[in-house]
Symmetry: C2
Subunit: 204 residues, 2 copies
Amino acid sequence: MEYGSKLLENAVNEISLLPGIGKRSALRLALHLLNRPQTQTEDLSRALLSLRENSKNCKHCHTLSDTEICQICEDPRRDIGILCVVEDIRDVLAIEGTSEFRGRYHVLGGKISPMDGIGPSDLTIDSLISRVKTEGITELIFALSSTMEGDTTNFYIYKQLAGLSLKFSTIARGIAVGDELQYADEITLGRSISNRIPLDYDKG
Amino acid sequence: MEYGSKLLENAVNEISLLPGIGKRSALRLALHLLNRPQTQTEDLSRALLSLRENSKNCKHCHTLSDTEICQICEDPRRDIGILCVVEDIRDVLAIEGTSEFRGRYHVLGGKISPMDGIGPSDLTIDSLISRVKTEGITELIFALSSTMEGDTTNFYIYKQLAGLSLKFSTIARGIAVGDELQYADEITLGRSISNRIPLDYDKG
């Protein structure tokens, strides 16, 4: 027994299964909980179990939700004609944080990645296609990460929907607001030039 | 509701109470657990609760233990005359890892630190003094960190035990094995010179 305590060893092993947490950090976290009131450990355990047991995926957009249909899909003020296609709930939270998007989302649950054994049927692509066909969607915004897998996924979905009268768009890539040109990578800078935006001060 | 889900928000809040884990990392950990089998969350929760509810402090040395008396204190092969004074169980694990120490430990549970409101009565100093007086201890090795608080704690204990026939020592400070002199801090290098060790190749 490396830790002189089976209880401690179990806790460290379980904590270190989490991504980015090694044995040493896990030990620090376990000892931290031991130094805090027992209620903190109870609250933590209860919150994790409750999340795992009770959370659902929204029947429409597949984002994480406490209810059958998520708050965004149920919100009558959202534009029901526009769907933003994202990978997971973190992307939804990030875009919601900007307050710039008033449409709804479709959460794929990942990207097509043959290397990781993830094919189209592992994602919610069938559900997306059926939504586009039945919900009167007029525009699809791709907001996947700009990797080979993201591009593949965009292209696959595009092909599946070819022939429908549907506007496709993708979020703009370019130099981040406030960043200096000299530190930008070449691909980003190249895209920000080829996708330059007309500037007209008279129009405001 | 920032996360669109009360369950997720609760889990993120509880996880981010842990030291060194912010809201963003907490969200990543919560979503990771959602992507894993439910048993993993159950095992984690059970391990944390079980550690918090069932672990004890050894009656003798106060280290974390599954039993009333820890394995080290119960081991008849340990030298019962030597006590190594440490701050917490991590120091015990670190020293045990070296296999260089065959005595036993005394875990203080912290250092005297008036700034943090930790006085001698918050630590296991009384228990240490009673052990020294009743267990036939001949040598006390101080292995606290070499900070103002560590030095204060060493001095306080030393004063409490003054007059007893007892050898005091402290672990050696110096340049780490394999480290280069030019990168060492001045205090460490200074100590390693003033505490230099006689070298006699004939003695081996």
